[in-house]
């Protein structure tokens, strides 16, 4: 086949009125020649925008310290992302471009949402380093990490620094109150104990099940201290961004409307947790709380709407997403009801992250025209 070259004058004499001035430099690419206006940076920036209502709620609930923790975490994540991109040998303008593609910001906000308001600065730095390093760049950066970076960092911190990671405070009295101040008041109020989360108290009840009187006392305390309306608004203790179901659901609605996430993972996740805790509650109402309490407590809404739905670490097909979400929901419920930890959202998502290649393999859809998909 002859090499396509500019035609000779004889083969194709340029007509006098040729509309092809020599300066036309034409772009030759393979089809298609049109594409969606959506882009990876637009998606990532929209995701952290969708997290802003919950960030605002965090500041409202836990004061200016929340703002500091979120700001420092995001800055640290973007900084480590840039350093690691540079370490991988990219040119500076590439580094600048990629560090601000939004993915490091999302990871930073999500990691901050998993920290207590009392988190010291060095925990933030260690967490950001682990998220960007172990969570992302050891695998090759954006798109290649099997596990959600923010959750890798959270689990790393929970296991390494169990004491510091469990110092939760009650909602502050005003924006200007520091978390240390609030912590002092909590310690005075709860006989030298820090604020207990609803899931922590429910786990205490399960641990005390040999003593029905104690179980009953704890259940009564939970019902009184954590009314469902407060849980929904977030007026309870916990990690920064996980407490306000309302703010999180607002952000999730934005992502659904922008079609960045679909309903499949959040709904199957929340639904499965509700069903399993519902069964436990139906069988042992004296020991376990009603499903709504489990749904609104801890990191379930945050996890189901913003972390399990992380595209990079979840299945690509709709069926796969349903399986993935259901698996997350089941593991979360099992850990919360019967496991050693009061909370299981982070573990459940990481475990299911590991199963994604397998899920993808077995949930490939039927090809067009196939009567039945051949066994994979």
């Amino acid at each position: 086949m002859a090499e396509p070259t500019t035609p000779t004058t004889e083969a194709a004499p340029a007509p006098a009125k040729s509309a092809a001035p020599a300066e036309h430099r034409l772009l030759v690419t393979s089809s298609p020649h049109v594409g969606t206006p959506e882009s990876v940076p637009r998606i990532m920036h929209t995701v952290w925008l969708a997290l802003l209502p919950a960030a605002a709620a965090a500041v409202w609930l836990f004061g200016y310290d929340a703002l500091l923790v979120i700001g420092l975490t995001v800055a640290a994540c973007v900084g480590f992302e840039a350093l690691m991109l540079k370490a991988r040998g990219l040119a500076w303008d590439e580094v600048r471009h990629l560090a601000f593609d939004g993915s490091a910001i999302v990871a930073g906000v999500l990691l901050a949402f998993n920290l207590p308001a009392t988190a010291p600065w060095w925990i933030v730095l260690v967490g950001a380093f682990v998220a960007m390093g172990l969570g992302k760049h050891v695998f090759g950066g954006l798109g290649h990490n099997p596990f959600n970076p923010a959750l890798v960092a959270r689990i790393f911190l929970v296991i390494s620094f169990p004491t510091q990671m469990a110092v939760y405070i009650s909602p502050v009295d005003s924006f200007t109150q520091s978390s240390a101040e609030r912590l002092e008041l909590d310690l005075a109020e709860f006989d030298g104990q820090t604020y207990a989360t609803p899931l922590g108290r429910l786990k205490d009840a399960v641990r005390a099940q040999a003593d029905p009187a104690k179980v009953e006392a704890i259940r009564a305390e939970v019902a009184e201290r954590y009314p469902v309306a407060d849980l929904f608004l977030g007026r309870t203790g916990g990690a920064l961004g996980e407490t306000s179901a309302l703010a999180l659901l607002l952000g999730a609605a934005l992502l659904l409307w922008r079609r960045i996430i679909t309903w499949h993972i959040p709904l199957s996740f929340l639904g499965t947790t509700a069903v399993v805790t519902g069964i436990a509650w139906a069988v042992h109402p004296e020991l376990y709380a009603e499903p709504l309490v489990y749904l609104l407590s801890g990191g379930l809404i945050l996890g189901a709407c913003f972390m399990a739905t992380d595209m990079v670490t979840s299945p690509v097909s709709r069926t796969g997403m349903l399986v993935f979400g259901a698996g997350c929901g089941l593991i979360t419920a099992v850990i919360r009801l019967w496991g050693g930890y009061p909370e299981g959202v982070a573990f459940s998502i990481l475990i299911m992250n590991a199963l994604v290649p397998l899920i993808d393999r077995y949930t490939k859809g039927r090809k067009f025209g196939e009567t039945r998909r051949a066994a994979a």
Binding site: P4, T6, L26, L27, T29, S31, P32, M321, K367, F368
Partner: protein, 439 residues
């Protein structure tokens, strides 16, 4: 009821308003034409003329070689100037015949450009007439029409589908043809039905062209067994397998052809050409196409002689804008981008698009973030992101599964990382076939 296929698809901005209200104009007779011998998806024809030969319009100048091949005809009268390799829209240089016009536009004997008579009492004459006229599929694939109309003995075809979906953005040639030539297309449809001996036919039209559907309905009123079916405007509604699914509910199995589910799909332009071949004995020497995009001053629908140099069209449409950035033969989803060469219009050229800097903006490619949009968009039920990864890593074994990819471009259109998925799939499929051949 608006029909559609169920799985996948996308809805790109249509941009049809640039030309959909513009009646088809006939391009002035070109001073010279370059007619490639390879204009169908099959063996190239063999030239039967030599330099200095006088030819008339409609005269055969290339003989088909084998069954899957079509004859080629002169589209103007004049003198053969040269038989040589010429640059073409497929990118390669192809053996072509250059004819210099004598300005008279004389047609060979037996061609009656005004006739509307179709003798339905002699249906056996139809297929030879279509074969001699050099008909190919005019939707873009250019498969020889007579081959599709002659299914093997063991295959039973019961339905003809006329494809008026025109699902590619920008293109409006089929739309205008249906509006302006509905009675002729209706006769063409009946000719094709008679050749296939079927008593059932559909005309599939997307619901963004209600006027075309109404006109076709009127033209076909009283024709038994024919339904003008409105389909959802969803790309790739006009892909053979998707249109068959939309209209009949049948799915062509992987590796099979439409005829294996009893269907033959022909473009409305092909039906019009069939009418001309039978009623007027006129071979396929001209076609209707759309010239559009923001970098052409006056977008138009044009009737153009085959072999007309692109520069003639550009001049007739007021010239290209200064910020012309991309030139596409075909639609924006499946068309081919060219360097600016003065290539000839061929039988399969359904449109020529001139994109300016904004339309042709090169977007930055990101790594796959596994969002799954390509999986949801693939009408064939494939996993394009995984296949793209495999091709990038030089692993082609998985492409056994992907040979059904029709390269419609839905996956790449919807990809927020703007990965060159179609390119990777093409690469994977061709490498897989090559390795298979090697054993």
């Amino acid at each position: 009821m608006v029909r559609t296929f169920k799985r996948g698809g996308v809805h790109p901005p249509e941009h049809k308003q640039l030309t959909e209200r513009k009646p088809i104009e006939t391009l002035p007779l070109p001073k010279r034409v370059v007619i490639p011998m390879a204009q169908c998806l099959g063996a190239p024809a063999e030239p039967t003329v030599k330099p200095k030969d006088a030819v008339k319009a409609g005269q055969r100048i290339g003989e088909p070689k084998g069954f899957v091949s079509t004859p080629v005809h002169a589209s103007i009268s004049g003198t053969v100037k040269k038989v040589d390799l010429y640059p073409t829209a497929v990118g390669a240089r192809i053996l072509s015949v250059e004819i210099e016009s004598d300005g008279k536009d004389e047609w060979v004997e037996g061609i009656d450009l005004e006739s509307r008579e179709v003798d339905f009492t002699r249906p056996d004459d139809f297929l030879p007439a279509l074969t001699d006229a050099g008909l190919v599929g005019m939707g873009g694939a250019a498969f020889p029409t007579h081959v599709k109309l002659k299914p093997p003995k063991d295959v039973k075809v019961d339905t003809l589908i006329l494809n008026g979906a025109e699902c590619e953005p920008y293109l409006t040639a089929d739309h205008r043809l249906m509006l302006e030539r509905a009675p002729e297309i209706a006769l063409g449809l009946q000719i094709l039905m008679a050749v296939l001996k079927v008593d059932r036919a559909y005309v599939g039209i997307e619901d963004n062209k209600p006027d075309a559907a109404a006109t076709m309905r009127q033209a076909l009123a009283g024709t038994l067994g024919v339904e003008v079916a409105v389909c959802r405007t969803r790309y790739p509604q006009g892909a053979e397998k998707q249109l068959i699914k939309s209209l009949t509910g049948r799915e062509v199995p992987p590796g099979k052809l439409p005829m294996h589910v009893g269907c033959v799909v022909q473009n409305v332009g092909t039906a019009f050409a069939a009418f001309e071949a039978v009623a007027r004995h006129k071979p396929l020497v001209e076609r209707v196409l759309t010239v559009s995009g923001r970098a052409i001053r006056e977008p138009k629908n044009l009737r153009v002689r085959i072999g007309t140099p692109l520069s003639d069209l550009v001049a007739f449409c007021g010239g290209a804008a200064d910020d012309l950035r991309k030139l596409i033969f075909g639609g924006p989803m499946m068309g081919k981008a060219l360097r600016f060469e003065d290539v000839p219009i061929v039988k399969s050229t359904s449109g020529i698009l001139f994109f300016d800097r904004e339309e042709a903006a090169a977007v930055r490619e990101f790594p796959c973030i596994r969002c799954g949009r390509c999986v949801a968009a693939c009408p064939q039920g494939l996993v394009p992101c995984d296949l793209g990864d495999q091709a990038e890593h030089g692993q082609y074994a998985g492409f056994a599964d992907a040979l059904d990819c029709v390269e419609c471009g839905s996956c790449q259109f919807t990809c927020p990382a703007h990965r060159r998925l179609v390119h990777l799939l093409r690469l994977g499929k061709s490498e897989f076939r090559r390795l298979q051949k090697k054993g």
